[in-house]
Amino acid sequence: MKPSAAARTLRWVAVAAIVAWSVGPVIIGVLTSLSSEVDVEAVPARWIPHHVSLAAYKALVLGANTSLGSTQADSHAFGQSVLSSLEVTVEATIVTMIVSILAGYGFSRLPFRGSKLLLWGVLATLVLPLFTLVVALFRLMVQLQLINTQLGLVLVYLSSSAPLAIWLFYNYCREMPAEPEEAALIDGCTRFKAFRKVVLPQMRSGIAAVTAIVMLLVYGQFLIPLLLGSSPSTKPVTVLITEFVGKYTTNYPLLAAGGVIALVPPTLVALLLNRHIRGMLSGSTG
């Protein structure tokens, strides 16, 4: 059944609309970040800057507070926040992956009396909105003196992203063929050695997908670091850029440049692992 010329044209229009909707705001952000102050203040608004300027990026990276109006851009603060974001994301992702690979495998392949109940107990926390815990976590972190520390943030990210990762790995392990592991056991491997040498390599693509999803989730956190990690040494870039939004006037090029820099890491992760991510996201729901 061949689609008619009209149907093909219609589909291309629709596809173009999907692409425009998805990248439009990013392009507007990039154009804004390259605008000079004259461009953003022009009436009517200029979509494409007449005077391309890197002043906003220079202000963020070099701290040159040039002709950018009242917003203070402390270079050190911005660089530091990007670094903290990346650091905490990597740390939290590694810990989450270790905990949830073990749990996902254990719950699916090593069942014991009561393990189903325990599994559902852990997964039930998936439906629990994070903000029910935010106030209590804040008090807990203050008491443990983990407030405004990377360790505190990593622990909270671990508890908030592990249930989803465990659920994904649990399903993944159940659908994975069991023969290679059984063969290794028959050949005399211990259970743990079979897990390390046979099952882990077998889980490679699932691990790639969940790593990407957890990284994106953790990197995008806002409310948790706003409350638990807003000191200069732990403040992530998501919290810092909201400070560029002025109460009365906003320095749009600076704000947009901050946004553009902040979107680079997640964009790279999403592009590099997009096949894995898509498979996991749509598969996890069936």
Partner: protein, 316 residues
């Protein structure tokens, strides 16, 4: 001896119903796995108890005590008083109405848009992989960054939307969008920008699980594309739709970041979570903030269970 059992275990999606393994190997495995299983799941259980269950208990305790002047001061047990205070608070009422508006608009746009995207991307065409990769980009970005990217579009004075509408003579004066009735719809639009890819992917996976034969059979019976969509696609898509609605619902009820970036803690756009933030952290009243958070969690849980039950009934 174990050949049949192994085949059974290898079959995807139904390993739960695999028959119990027999033979000496299986028996040793079972005995060994009892304590080994505990070791594998122990870290996850400890994390859940320490950082979810314990805070949950702490939070509940906070919500039934009067707010003490300091973190360590003793406070009086007041039972459900904080809960009834919160329910009577006019700010809670308006935040609830706002949240229902966010949820309604978001779900309508996400399900409508998601279905449209899924239908367009369902059939193979050249470049489909690239389009799918581009599609998930907004989902991958932090919601704060989405808010930042849309900021200038909704800016007052010479914002991009104002400029277009003034040029087209649709409005005469630039509007302050975040202060008028468009604030909530526009914030929802930014929210939808980030969630739509996920909803579209779920619905796309649902579409692709419908076998082609169903369509060819109905085509023979003389059904046209529109009738096929209403009478075949939509009913068979129900499980995927239920999941998509649950995901969209939970995300929209907990909307916070986009509001914070585009309009701060302002009351005219405050969602219930913004109200929790305002009362717990701006007014430093943990007791009432937590009580409200628990009420919202309860409502979210009830909604999620209802929509998941609806999906279960239709799949089995």
């Amino acid at each position: 001896m174990t050949g049949a059992a192994l085949d059974e275990a290898a079959a995807p999606r139904v390993p739960d119903r695999r028959p119990p393994r027999q033979g000496r190997l299986a028996l040793t495995l079972r005995r060994e796995s009892t304590w080994l299983g505990w070791w594998f799941v122990a870290p996850a259980v400890i994390v859940t108890v320490a950082l979810v269950v314990y805070p949950l208990v702490l939070g509940f305790e906070t919500s039934i005590h009067a707010q003490a002047p300091t973190l360590t001061a003793p406070s009086k047990l007041v039972g459900a008083a904080n809960y009834s205070d919160v329910l009577k608070d006019p700010n809670t009422v308006s935040a609830t109405l706002h949240t229902l508006t966010y949820v309604g608009i978001a779900l309508a746009l996400e399900i409508g848009g998601g279905l449209a995207i899924a239908v367009v991307l369902h059939r193979a065409f050249r470049g489909r992989g690239i389009v799918l990769a581009i599609l998930i980009m907004p989902w991958a970005l932090p919601s704060v960054v989405s808010g930042v990217l849309w900021q200038r579009i909704f800016a007052p004075d010479n914002g991009l939307l104002n400029s277009i509408l003034v040029n087209l003579h649709i409005i005469h004066q630039p509007e302050v969008w975040m202060a008028n009735g468009w604030a909530i719809p526009f914030i929802t639009l930014v929210h939808v920008w980030g969630v739509l890819p996920l909803v579209a992917l779920i619905l796309l996976a649902g579409l692709q699980s419908i076998p082609d034969e169903v369509y060819s059979a109905s085509a023979v019976d003389g059904a046209n594309a529109v009738r096929q969509f209403w009478h075949i696609t939509l009913p068979l898509l129900r499980p995927a739709l239920a999941v998509a609605i649950t995901v969209g619902l939970v995300q929209a009820i907990t909307i916070f970041d986009e509001i914070y970036v585009l309009n701060g803690t302002a009351l005219n756009t405050a969602s219930v979570l913004m109200q929790v933030y305002n009362s717990a952290f701006v007014d430093a009243d943990f007791a009432h903030g937590t009580a409200l958070a628990f009420l919202v969690a309860l409502a979210t849980g009830v909604f999620a269970v209802i929509s998941l039950l609806a999906s279960r009934r239709s799949t089995v």
